[in-house]
Symmetry: C2
Subunit: 253 residues, 2 copies
């Protein structure tokens, strides 16, 4: 597929992302459901002015502290994140000492293989290519995990995740960091730390926060987590969307 | 594809629509771009509470008056509307005395054929299967029209339409009635009558309004059009989205 929008276009990044997600269909990585979900995200990102707000930066600071405290952090990868932020998640995984694991809603062995191939093409291995364990208590395909990764992870980063699975991970005692553009959806409402931002902006930001906090030590990280209030972050995000709607130009979406 | 969500599900209609749009990929009718656009619509419909507001009813009244006044009205059909509201548009076309014409953003002769087959399966013919004319002044594939339809139509109903094409139709002197869920996008901002509603709710509503107004005669229809203010309709829709965001439960999208 060719992509001819010039970088000077005011919505260049959004259009590049859309192109990547659409191209993922050809590659066997994204699904129709993933495309529709991306469209919902586009609408919320547009209402947020397509920029990272202070509430997203604050959540990234808490998420960085959580990842630095974690014994076994895992970054969960689905079709959309594989297309949008494979390189950013590989880099974040290295900085955070976190494993990457495939976790897809519409399960198919060949989709897992295609996602793994994409990560290998960027020089990274990934878990979950052939899941060999199940999370107890979740009945769908979403229960499938890799015994080397998600099964006994203590901190899981999910992006563009299904609400049922997020609830389940929290109930299973894991600390869940969610990245999602809709503050009202069940995933950010359920996760302990919710970064309301576009994944393409959020993951580099989160990595930068880890680098910034690394030297401060565990006591500082724990203090950050103790004072973090996810409810107020979600309220701030809802407020930003309302304000965004008031401030918008008569513009194209 | 199977669809197993029970009708009692609070978001049943939204999930059925999503399933249809996704199924359209298999049928060669919807495209990846159409799926992403549907997702954006889902987000706005959710913020509108997935119901028809008074501003949508008012716009339908004006649209009904416009269709009753029109000498040659045409309903424009794309991949998403073909999957979502083929039967509703066929019924509306009969009630309004309007022709149906295929008009797709990503042109492909076989897509036009598949859409036509779908309409034929519901007992309706449709124009634009093999476009034989061009609208002057528009350079892309979107200029392609049927000489028996859109070319000299005086009133065109577009749904989920591209902004460039809508602007062009208005500049070409046509009265444009738009159905769109995002009041901020260029299509409803440009059209003379903008129905901010889900196409599945809007088209039956519009048809009902035509039946209601038919007996009132041209003077009444012209009076409705003379007093109609599309700017205030768009402002009311923006306000409803803001209020929707304030009133929403902590619910899943």
């Amino acid at each position: 597929m060719t992509f001819a929008v010039p970088p000077s276009h005011p919505r260049y990044h959004s259009l590049v992302a859309r192109h990547r997600i659409e191209d993922g269909v050809r590659l066997g990585i994204t699904t129709p459901t993933g495309l529709v979900a991306h469209g919902r995200g586009e609408a919320f990102d547009y209402l947020l002015g397509e920029r990272s707000h202070p509430f997203a930066v604050q959540a990234c600071t808490a998420a960085a502290a959580a990842l630095l405290c974690a014994a076994k952090p895992v970054l969960s990868i689905n079709g959309n994140t594989a297309m949008l932020v494979a390189e950013e998640m590989i880099s974040l995984g290295r900085t955070a000492g976190a494993l990457l694991e495939i976790n897809i809603f519409h399960d198919a062995p060949e989709r897992r293989q295609k996602i793994a191939e994409r990560f290998r093409s960027f020089g990274s291995e990934i878990l979950g290519v052939v899941p060999d364990a199940r999370l107890e208590g979740l009945s769908s395909d979403r229960a499938k995990v890799d015994s080397r990764g998600m099964l006994d992870a203590d901190c899981v980063v999910v992006a563009l995740e299904d609400g049922d699975r997020t609830e389940f991970l929290v109930r299973a005692g894991k600390q869940v960091i969610a990245v999602d553009l809709n503050p009202l959806s069940r995933t950010p409402q359920t996760a302990q730390i919710s970064i309301i931002d576009n994944v393409q902006r959020a993951f580099p930001l989160l990595e930068k926060e880890i680098d910034r906090l690394r030297g401060q030590g565990r006591a500082a990280w724990e203090a950050i987590l103790a004072s973090y209030d996810n409810r107020s972050i979600l309220r701030a995000a809802e407020e930003a969307i309302r304000n965004g709607l008031q401030a918008l130009p008569e513009d194209a979406l």
